[in-house]
Amino acid sequence: MSKKILEAINISKYFLDPVHIQVLKKINFSIGEGEFVSIMGKSGCGKSTLLYILSTMDTDYEGDLFIDGTSMKNKKEAELAKVRNEKIGFVFQFHYLLNEFSVLRNVMLPGLKLGRYSEKELESRAYDKLRILGIENEAVKKPNQLSGGEKQRVAIARAMINNPIIIMGDEPTGNLDKKNSEIVYSIFKELAEVYHQSLLIVTHDNEFASKTNRIIEMEDGQIIKS
């Protein structure tokens, strides 16, 4: 197996409210470079909870998480924000684009925050990403002028802007119709195959999952098949 870019070691999580319940039970798994992985499972099995822990946004868990070989445990909020900015791209069920900014600017925002490239260069990089996703003609529009599928593609472009080591998706096709789901899937596929982008997608869509390289199946807070 290639280099591990993400590794979960004995991750457990409890919800205290309203009742004490263990939602994740000693999860162990890892993802290698360039893998296209989906996490499957019924509603409430803890797959989204796991994703948010892996994404470093949720810090209230037991066990340890390594991203790119570095432990995420005991990092400060600002440091985790930097990790998310630099190494992780996100696509959510909802697009979460800022309506005040143009599509291009939305894509550029995480890059501007990282500050690795000048604004000019970032702009051309953002155009490149939009071109890969086939929406470069919409760059100057505002997000609320786009269709649902287009918005989701902009969100994917935004996730890609800093060339993250992994893109995570939480039901990225959950809000889309069949045709748009197909498009989003083929984009992911292309990213994985052509650009060797690692992807970790949470979904309950069997059809979607079946087309990925590797399926991690979860039930009751445990991995039953990976």
Partner: protein, 419 residues
């Protein structure tokens, strides 16, 4: 780079709710405008009222007081040293009100670097003779030019030229009230009787009006030489030395020093006119309190709008955090929204405040008591503008502080999962 990024995000959030933002900014503008106008007017009025007295009053007045000697002969006797001596009906001895060795004192005062200027003065009790009636009065013998330089004498001479007092021998400038009682016109001769019974004729060369009726009814001015002649004294006869210092605040210390050094009575302005300082500081406190209250109300407006904005922009905040903006960045975004409302509103407020103060300055304000004042007094002291500007920043920062902290604490997981 990072600053401009945060700036552009705040700006676009601001513009997204520009109507509310404008209302908040207008709130700040209004309060700063009123703050500036109120304080300019108030301190203008204060300066006027203080000036009525302070301009005409020496910072330190040196004089000789007629008083019984503190050390009586019995105290000097060794025999009664251990006793406590009661002496009744002590009278002051025959002492002159003149300041001894005035020439030397004047010379050493002139060389004191703390002193702005000195004006010697003679106060003489006289009677103005009007027909068969004699009215009591006081003639102040002054050194005309110094008196004008230090105490703005010219401003209070409403008719006639003040310098004639120096140029025309045996001349007098009458108090307005006294002149009206005597029915004199400029150029008339009036008769004055001194307390020693000497009679002398003086030519009226002007009227003066201080705005304080008690003074105008009684006091008149003549040159120092005229007054010395009137009293039949030599040309080193001086009863008062008025000292104006470069710094008014050191007057009490310097007065004490002079009192000991020259062995005279020395009264500083703070002691002599304590009530004026109290009055102005109370008026200042009131106007500052009103101004600051206005600003605090405006601050609440900003607080509300920011809070609303945060509820509306929960999603945006969540995605910013998810894509790598830290809580601190989000905090900075909202603080800069608050501060830009403060800066924008505050600057406009300073401008409008100046305009309003200028308008007040144009309103005619004619009163017989204040000959030099034609319009409402307004103070354009830059300090007021500085305080107003600083306060607008401080209140908007405080108003933005809590909402910004709340925004920075938003947990993106809760928002995103809630969808």
């Amino acid at each position: 780079m990072k600053f401009s990024l945060i700036g552009s995000i705040s700006l676009s959030l601001l513009m997204a709710r520009w109507k509310q933002t404008l209302v908040a900014a207008i709130g700040v503008t209004f309060s700063i405008t009123m703050f500036i106008a109120l304080l300019s007017f108030m301190s203008g009025l204060n300066d006027l009222l203080d000036g009525l007295i302070l301009n005409r009053t020496a910072h330190i007045r040196l004089y000789n007081e007629i008083q019984p000697s503190a050390v009586q002969p019995i105290d000097r006797s060794g025999r009664f040293k251990e006793y406590y001596n009661f002496i009744r009906s002590v009278k002051p001895k025959n002492e002159r009100v003149q300041i001894y060795n005035s020439g030397a004192i004047l010379k050493s005062l002139k060389n004191d670097p703390r002193v702005l200027g000195i004006a010697p003065k003679i106060t003489a009790q006289v009677f103005y003779t009007v027909g068969s009636i004699e009215m009591t009065g006081i003639i102040n013998g002054i050194e005309v030019e110094e008196e004008d330089r230090l105490f703005l004498f010219k401003d209070y001479v409403t008719e006639g030229n003040y310098i004639n007092l120096k140029n025309i021998p045996n001349s007098i400038i009458l108090g307005k009230g006294a002149a009206e009682k005597m029915l004199t016109t400029l150029g008339d001769l009036i008769q004055v009787t001194t307390s020693k019974g000497e009679r002398i004729q003086l030519k009226v060369v002007g009227y003066f009006q201080s705005g304080i009726q008690e003074i105008d009814n009684v006091q008149s001015y003549a040159s120092i030489t005229t007054t010395q002649k009137l009293l039949g004294e030599s040309n080193n006869y001086i009863t008062d030395i008025q000292v104006k210092l470069k710094d008014l605040n050191i007057a009490p210390v310097v007065a004490k020093e002079y009192g000991q050094l020259f062995d005279v009575e020395a009264v500083d302005i703070q002691t002599a006119n304590a009530q004026f300082e109290t009055g102005s500081s109370v008026r200042n406190i009131i106007s500052y309190a009103v101004g600051i209250t206005l600003l605090i109300v405006a601050g609440f407006g900003i607080y509300n709008i920011l809070n609303m904005m945060i509820y509306e922009k929960m999603d945006s905040i969540a995605i910013l955090k998810a894509t790598g903006f830290s809580g601190k960045d989000v905090n900075h975004i909202f603080i800069s929204i608050a501060l830009s409302i403060g800066i924008f509103g505050g600057l406009l407020g300073l401008l409008f405040g100046y305009g309003l103060a200028y308008l007040i300055d144009q309103v005619p304000f004619d009163t017989a008591a204040l000959p030099t004042i034609k319009t409402y007094p307004v103070n354009y002291n830059p300090r007021i503008y500085l305080i107003g500007g600083a306060f607008s920043l401080v209140t908007t920062y405080l108003a933005g502080f809590l909402p910004s902290r709340k925004a920075s604490k938003i947990d993106p997981v809760i928002i995103i999962r809630g969808k």
